[in-house]
């Protein structure tokens, strides 16, 4: 049974991830509707959930066109890369005690590596399309990812220092008493912003910026290949939310007094849900920054904050060690 458990869980995540991403498209539209004083898709089925099915059928029946001027092999490969990378990232997420596919001692690094691999998808998609808008989108995403990758990793080092491990299970266990969102607030802020940039969601969706670049890197994509990009984006959103909960909001631990009333899996799911709602709220509220603003925010604000956070965390830890 214990041998079979990871396999079953992997299948569950695979199916649940795809279904979750599909439902998330609908959920996001409804939530945006709430915040923009309208309804969003509410026609098909109860609460409009049938919209998911309708979109899926529509995308399946679209002409699977590969532009004759594109680099065909890379063009077809690019959308799969992001989905595969994001799915792999879920392998190390601890949903509940004992409920994870694999507990590696470098779980955090594995997650960072997988999200970095997703950049290739955007980059190659933009490059292979042989279209100037797509190329500009790919170019932007390359620069954005490179600069935000730097302090995305660095912002997590505070967490690693406090828990003394790269294993995500150890990190969650270290938050049994106090969640890291209280002790690592700066790290949390930086990680959230870097996470949005990493999954290129709306405040930081410069690679696709529909007003400037039509659709950026996926201008030439359509049908299921486009759906794969979207699937990857929503999987990325879910993965980032899972990681924020794992690293900063105590993973499966419930809040102090009422935590033991409900199962750990519920608390994990609930917190991920809240974080996803917050991401949608950011999309509804914050306009997209200009490209140079994005870059200067990254290098001139976020990186110094991260380094300051690192220095303070290190100093406090050393001081406490000396005091003990």
């Amino acid at each position: 049974m214990s041998e079979l458990m990871p396999v079953l869980l992997a299948l569950t995540i695979l199916i649940g991830g795809v279904a979750g991403a599909a439902i998330l498209t609908w959920f996001e539209r409804r939530l945006l509707g709430v915040w923009q004083d309208r309804y969003g898709p509410n026609r098909l089925g109860p609460l409009g959930i049938g919209q998911v099915l309708a979109d899926m059928i529509k995308l399946l029946f679209k002409d699977d066109w590969v532009p004759p001027f594109s680099d065909k092999v890379v063009f077809i490969f690019a959308p799969t890369a992001i989905v595969v990378a994001m799915m792999m990232g879920f392998a190390v997420v601890p949903f509940a005690p004992g409920m994870m596919i694999i507990d590696v001692n470098i779980g955090l690094l594995f997650f960072l590596g997988m999200t970095s691999l997703a950049v290739y998808s955007v980059l190659l998609g933009g490059l292979a399309s042989n279209n100037k808008y797509a190329l500009l989108g790919g170019l932007r995403s390359a620069a954005q990812m490179v600069s935000y990758e730097v302090f995305m990793g660095l912002s997590l080092m505070g967490v690693v220092m406090m828990s003394g491990s790269f294993s995500l299970v150890d990190i969650v266990e270290a938050q049994t008493d106090v969640w890291f969102c209280f002790s690592q607030t700066l790290g949390l802020i930086v990680f959230v912003i870097a996470g949005i940039a990493e999954s290129h969601r709306l405040p930081f969706d410069l690679p696709e910026a529909e007003h400037e670049l039509t659709a950026g890197f996926h201008t030439e994509y359509g049908g299921m290949k486009f759906a794969m990009f979207m699937l990857g984006e929503y999987l990325g959103l879910m993965l980032i939310s899972c990681m924020i909960v794992t690293l900063f909001f105590g993973g499966w631990h419930g809040p102090a007094l009422i935590g033991h009333w409900l199962p750990p899996l519920f608390w994990f799911g609930f917190k991920v849900f809240i974080i996803i709602c917050f991401f949608v709220l950011l999309r509804a509220a914050i306009p997209r920054p200009r490209y140079d603003q994005l870059m200067s925010l990254g290098w001139k604000v976020m990186l110094p904050i991260t380094l300051i956070n690192l220095v303070i965390t290190g100093a406090v830890l050393l001081w406490m060690e000396g005091a003990a």
Partner: protein, 171 residues
């Protein structure tokens, strides 16, 4: 930075506001009587066609969607032999209604005239003509105008003086 946080808070407050959307097919919007929608041809209180085929509506129409042909009745009054409005061109500007000297052509509060076939958007006189007076219940063009008809002579219309005999010197 502060303005961004304030924006997030202001948007979050909209969680508790009602949606502005009108759920159209179930929930009909109120259209005022002056709404400029589907065009009709009205009749006067006696039940006769008001249109005198003067062609002013067709002349003023900015998109040239009105076509009509004048014909004469036995009593000398005019009427349109055919009256055709191409609603696939019509922009509901209401200039035909303003130009009409007899209040015959009127716009109504109805906009639901979708068709699958474009040709069905062309309305003939039988489709346009209604069995009513529209917005002007008492108006009858031939009663107020000096036009001579079979039932009344010149000067017999409402608020009209007898014509002056210009050949005579007597007042």
């Amino acid at each position: 930075m502060l303005s961004e946080l304030r924006t997030i808070w202001e948007v979050l407050k909209h969680t508790f506001t009602k949606a502005e959307t009108v759920q159209y097919p179930e929930e009909m919007p109120y259209l005022s009587p002056r709404y400029r929608g589907r065009i009709v041809l009205t009749r006067d209180p006696d039940g006769e066609e008001r249109c005198v085929a003067c062609n002013l509506c067709a002349a003023v129409c900015p998109v040239d969607c009105i076509a009509l042909q004048k014909d004469t009745r036995e009593d000398g009054t005019w009427y349109p032999e055919f009256f055709r409005i191409n609603f696939s061109r019509c922009i509901m500007c209401g200039m035909c209604e303003e130009a009409c000297p007899t209040y015959a052509i009127q716009l109504t509060p109805d906009f639901e005239m979708c068709e699958y076939d474009r040709q069905n958007m062309v309305y003939e006189k039988e489709h346009l003509l209604i069995n009513g007076v529209g917005k002007y219940p008492d108006y009858n063009f031939y009663r107020v105008s000096g036009m001579q008809t079979a039932t009344k002579d010149k000067g017999e219309a409402q608020n009209e003086a007898r014509p002056i005999d210009t050949k005579s010197l007597l007042p």
